[in-house]
Each structure stands twice: as C-alpha cells, then as structure tokens.
Amino acid sequence: MDDLLWVRNVTVELPTAAGWVKPVNEVSLRISPGESLGLVGESGSGKTMLSLTLMGLLPLGARVKGEILLNASGVGEASSGVKTGPASQPGKDQNRSLQGLKPIERQGEMSELKLRPPKEEVEARNLVGQSEDEWRRVRGREIAMIFQEPMTSLNPVMRIGRQITEAILAHEPGLAGEALHRRLLTAMEHASLPEPEIRAQQFPHQLSGGLRQRAMIAMALAPRPKLLIADEPTTALDVTVQKQILDLLDHLRRELDLALLFITHDLGVVAKVADRIAVMYAGRIVEEGPVQKVLSSPRHPYTQGLLAASPTLERRKLAPIPGNVPRLTELPSGCAFAPRCSFRRAECEQVVPEFRQAEPDHAARCVLL
C-alpha cells in the first residue's frame, strides 16, 4: 500500500473524574503522500485529540491502543505490525503506551533504537508507545502541525525570523550563517510571506492574522515534514484571508508533495481543500469517502444532518440536528448518534454499527447501508 500514514484501530483513553473516556475510539485512517484528507467534526468529536495523538502531544495519563504507522508503504494488509520498532508487540502495548508519562521505563528499548538506520532510510514505524526521544525525531520533522490561533502558538517576544530559525535548527543543528539564513528565506517564501527580510525582523503582534498564519506555516514546513496537520487553521481568519491561506496550502501540497490532514468543522472549507473526507462523531469516524461522494450523497444521517444545518449563500430552511453532542461520559451503548437520529431503529441502540461499504471507496457506520 502506498501510505504515508496508516492509523490502525487507534483508541485514546483519558482518565476523568467520571472514569475513563475515549475521545478517540477505534479510528482507522490512511493518508498517501501528497493527499489531503479532511477530518470533519464538531466540538467534542475527538478530531483535535486525534491530531494530538498523531503528534505525540497527548495529556499526561492518556492511554493509546492500536497502531500509527508512519511510512507505511510496503506494509501489507495482513501483516500487522511488521518491522515497526520495539513498541509494537500487540497486547503489551496497552499498558505501556502511557504517552509522556514514563519514558524511563523504556530505557531497555532505547539501545535498540540506536541500532536503527538513520532517518533517510524509509522504514515503517509504529508511533504508538514511542519514547519522548523517539517522538522528538518525528514531531516537527516528519509530522508538523499548525493551529487555529497563530497568536497563541507564536512567542510574542521573539522576532518571527528567529522563531522560524529555531524550528530549522531543532532538526538541523549543524546549520549556521549564510546557509541558515537562506533556509529561513526559503521557508518564508514557501509560505508566501511578503518582504521576508522585513517580516523576519518583526514581532508577531506586528503581523496581521493572515501573515501570522503564514509565519506558522513557514515554521511548520521549514524542517520539510511529509505530513502537515492543520487544525482549523483558517477559523479565526476573515473569509478573504481564509481563501488565500487555503490556496497557499493547496499550492504547497502540490509543490512539496506534502500530505495534509485538514481538521475543520466547515463543510465548505473541506470541499475546497480535501480529496477525501472522514466525518467524526463522539470519537468515532462515522463516514469516509471521496469528498464529492460524501457531500453529494452522504450515507450517514449525521453527515446528512450537518449538510442540512450548514448555512449557504442561498436562503433555505435550515434543519438543525436536534439535541446536543453527547458527553463522552454519557455515551449510549449503541450508535452514539442514535439519540439524535430520525432514522433510529431498535438495533441502533444495541451495538455500535460496523463500517459498511456504500461503494468500494465510500463507507459509513450505519445500519441503513
């Protein structure tokens, strides 16, 4: 399979006062190089928690099950967890993958890590259960992320140029002088930051929201990652600026063969940037398929509901989805959407529906299929 990232049956558990909850529940995804996958969901759907899982940035105490295979091309369907480093023995995983909690426990495996081939050698590896040291080699370098509000992600008292330089040096500590400056300017030009020499000397507050997001993009892309996770990158921006940033991301994807995981709640935005869509609800992916098919013939009642509730430039009777997104501590035993679903049947309340194919590349977790 030609996959850059293969998320296999990943479940994230978080401890809360009311017990363990699963903000990400049996999620599987694949992204090929240069592909754009739109992850659509409302607040509480788990889309941001999933992206943090992919970055190894989960809160302390989180448990991760399943596999996240990076550079998964060559890994066969049937062979689970081949050559994916020491952390992938299934079964043991569950107890061990306390992210960021106890990297010390993993000391025994660190020596094995040193025996590994250098980064350039493409090898599938399982990110679940990695040590913090191993994460540091992936985070930023292979998978980078940009966020909704660039102002909170940028250091307010550091010049833009230095912040981008810092990102470059984190992954290529050898660079200096003229070579480093050239890399900085290239990064800024990639993000279409106008007048890079001047912008590099400025502080974040001197930049508009759109330029700040461009600075974030420059910083994220400076180490030349293969996958960019964009978590609602345009939600805080004006529409005209949003359009520019979406165009930029689309251009970069083609130019750099960059894979994009674009997280948004806006179906209009996803239609513009994504090749495929995965719709998330209460921690699970409920529908997945090519963007045109999902938006023109949605198969899950939740996707249908989102479309009917989305305002467009045409005035029409908006059909809100009744009720609220369920709390993770109060999920029903069957389909999580069943309480809000107008097609609900008795069987929906018993078990969570499996994925059913509508077409070979279009599937939904719904008994109606």
């Binding site: 409302e42 529409v239 949003q242 806006d266 989102l306 509730a309 305002p311 045409e314 005035r315 609220n324």
Partner: protein, 270 residues
Amino acid sequence: MTYMLEVRNLRKSFVRGGGLFSDQAKGEPFVAVDGVTFAVGPGETFAIVGESGCGKTTLARLILRLIEADCGVILFEERELLPLRGDALRAQRRQMQMIFQDPFASLNPRMRVGEIVAEPLAIHEPQLSRAQRLARAGEILRRVGLDESALPRFPHEFSGGQRQRIGIARALILRPKLIVADEPVSALDVSVGAQVLRLLQELQREFGLTYLFISHSLPVVAQLATHIAVMRAGQFVEYGPANRILHEPTHTYTRDLLAAVPEIPRPGQL
C-alpha cells in the same frame, strides 16, 4: 413609514498610539465608524457584514450607547438617543438589548442562571420580588427552549448552545423592541448554530422583534437578513435588500467577499 432605528452620519474615532510601549507619538485618530447612515423598519433584520476591524462591533456599541459617538444622530422610534442621560437613557435602554458572540464569556460563571436571566429585571423593575423575578425568568427560559430546572444551575453545566439560549433569555426578559446580535452563532457548532438561528427567527415572529445582526459570515446572514450592509474601514460600501446584495452586488468588495465564501458544492456542481 416610521423607522424603528435611524442612524445618520454616525462617527467615532479613537486616539491611537501614545501608549507606554508605543514607538509613535499620539498620531492621527483612528476612525472606526466613519459617517454611517441607515434606517431599520420595525420587524426587519438589518445585517451588518464585514471583516474583522471594519467597525461593525463599534457601530453596535454606539447604537446601544455603550460608547459615546463623536457626532451624528441616532433616532430610536423617532426619538433622539444621543442627548439622553440618566433615567431617560435607562428607560430607553430596556427597549434595546444585546446578544453576544461568546456564550462562555458573556455569562458570569459565579451567578446562577436564574440570577443571570432575571438581573435586568432587578435594574429596570425593582418593585418586583425575587420570587416574581424568578417566575419571569422561568417563563422566558421556556420560550427559548429551556425550562425552570435551569434556574438554580450554573452556566458551566450547560453546553454552548444552551448558554446562548440563556443569553437570549436574558436579552428578552425586558421584552425589548430591538435586539442587537453580535455574531450570535459564530462560536457555536454547525448543528447547534442552526438551532439558534431558527430560534431567533421564531422569537422575531413571536415578539415582533427588530434585529440588528452583526456578522462576518455571509452564509449566516443570508439565512435571516431582510437588509444587508457591507462595511469596510468604517463605512458602508453598499447596502440594500438582502436579495439584491447577495445576488446582484454592485460594489467590487461585496463581490470579493461573496467569491471568498467556501461554498458546499451542490450535487449538480460536482
């Protein structure tokens, strides 16, 4: 025709620079609202659309007299608003209430929902007893899709959509004629935002409300505006009936805004 609200040549500027860390001396004043003129009829929904920094929120605050205008005229039911002071202003204010963008920031987390919703009554109808106030609060909560069980609870116990309903109940409890809604659905999820838009439409019919609706989102505005004004740099670049602005815009800026909206393609367009 008598208008509910008439605004003539309204202007507001702020002094910029001169702060502790500013490297510029007190310079040219920044004109946030630059000679805006419009009129809203009773029962209409007048939407002001523009990008961040265009002055739309400043305009709303001027109309509510939360900040003072430099010059201009505001007529509310043909009565001049800007010269009003003290009791006369307070009496006028109960006719115009506001709904805010962020239902998390606009409700006091340490007050119970009953107190939040009934608070305007304590100011404008002080003769009512606490029990009477809470009874009125329960009544209005039911009109917005909640009920009395919300009264003793705190805002954090509610979802974003429910909190926005609480904010709407607080705005309606005095039975105002004009509601200024500043981005009332932009902090909400799509499915919940649609609920709130529907609720605003129902309440408008039920109470005969006039809306001044402020938003950055043309698709949201398209759902309920009777008139749309497009604002940029403190001025209306274009304004008129919603249908004309959305379908036959004359100003290039309006066309740019419309073209930038990421539209969900319809089945036929794919």
